[in-house]
């Protein structure tokens, strides 16, 4: 290990290439359509799916995941957010409010994921009117 160099000129390409790749992915996420449907999954199974356009106002849902971890999720007409989690790391809470299709907040200890889908999935109606 002694005498090993800290960096070589071509390492700049590696780092810049990775940052550029991340930048392209960020831009693609930003360009996604607004989320139309909030989906809550537990252990990879959908436990709740709600059309956001049908919400009259904010709605709160409580999910109890693996190891008894409780998550409080708020659904809004324009997005969704995990507002409280009974686990120490609070990763999903700090993710903040989701607004676009493809965005998600994942609670690993509870094995619960909240994600937004775009409008008009395959074979599904864009909207259901009463």
């Amino acid at each position: 290990m002694e005498g090993r160099r800290f960096a070589r000129p071509q390492d700049a390409l590696l780092v810049l290439g990775l940052l550029a790749l991340a930048g392209i992915c960020f831009a693609m996420l930003r360009a996604a359509p607004l989320g139309a449907r909030a989906v809550i999954e537990q252990d990879g199974r959908v436990v709740l799916a709600r059309e956001l356009a049908q919400l009259a106002g904010p709605e709160e849902v409580t999910v109890t995941g693996a190891q008894g971890v409780r998550l409080t999720i708020a659904l809004y007409p324009d997005g969704a957010q995990v507002i409280a989690a009974g686990c120490p790391d609070q990763v999903c809470v700090r993710t903040g409010k989701l607004g676009r299709a493809g965005e998600s907040a994942v609670c690993l200890p509870a094995r619960v994921a909240l994600r937004l889908e775009g409008g008009g999935g395959a074979g599904e109606a864009d909207a259901v009117t009463g």
Binding site: M1, A7, D11, L18, A22, C25, Q67, E103, P109
Partner: protein, 169 residues
């Protein structure tokens, strides 16, 4: 015989160093500009030195020790994440360091990217494909954290080498 005893003792000390680094990192407040869940991965410094200077078994021991502590302290999910990321990145850093011309920075970046990729796979298995949303953040901060790992090892290499020599390595 003396060399073997020294190696075991040195591995133990590196293990303690890895645990201390990850404990200290946990004391840092969540940095506002970092995405949720992102960590600096300072204990990778110890893993990288172990894989490069002592050997692959020493590096894997560090990963298992760290995973065991995460399992006991923070539960099954955290234990699996730590173990998968640690083992995969240790193997990759060991492979990269086999090339004599590989730099510390490149090794750190490869290790950090592997760490994140392995953890992403475990997180996907534990939850669902929703974790894909984190990919851009993992790529960007994995690259930066890898640069930091290489830099910290560059600075701390001389004292680590001195300690290793004292233990007969």
């Amino acid at each position: 015989m003396k060399r073997k005893a020294g190696m075991v003792a040195f591995t133990g000390m590196l293990g303690a160093l890895a645990l201390a680094l990850s404990f200290l990192e946990g004391l840092l407040p969540p940095l506002p500009m970092l995405p949720p869940g992102a960590k600096l991965g300072l204990s990778n410094v110890a893993a990288m030195y172990a894989a490069g200077s002592v050997g692959l078994p020493c590096g894997l021991f560090l990963a298992i020790l760290k995973g065991g502590f995460a399992f006991l302290g923070r539960g099954v999910a955290a234990g699996l994440m730590s173990l998968s990321g640690g083992m995969a990145s240790t193997v990759v850093m060991w492979l990269v360091l086999k090339r004599p011309q590989a730099s510390l920075l490149a090794t750190g970046v490869c290790g950090a990217m592997t760490h994140n990729a392995a953890q992403l796979c475990v997180a996907w298995a534990l939850t669902s494909r929703a974790v894909v949303f984190y990919v851009p953040a993992l790529v960007a901060f994995g690259a930066l954290a890898g640069v930091l790992t290489g830099l910290v090892l560059r600075i701390s290499l001389p004292p680590l080498q001195k300690l290793g020599r004292r233990m007969g390595l």
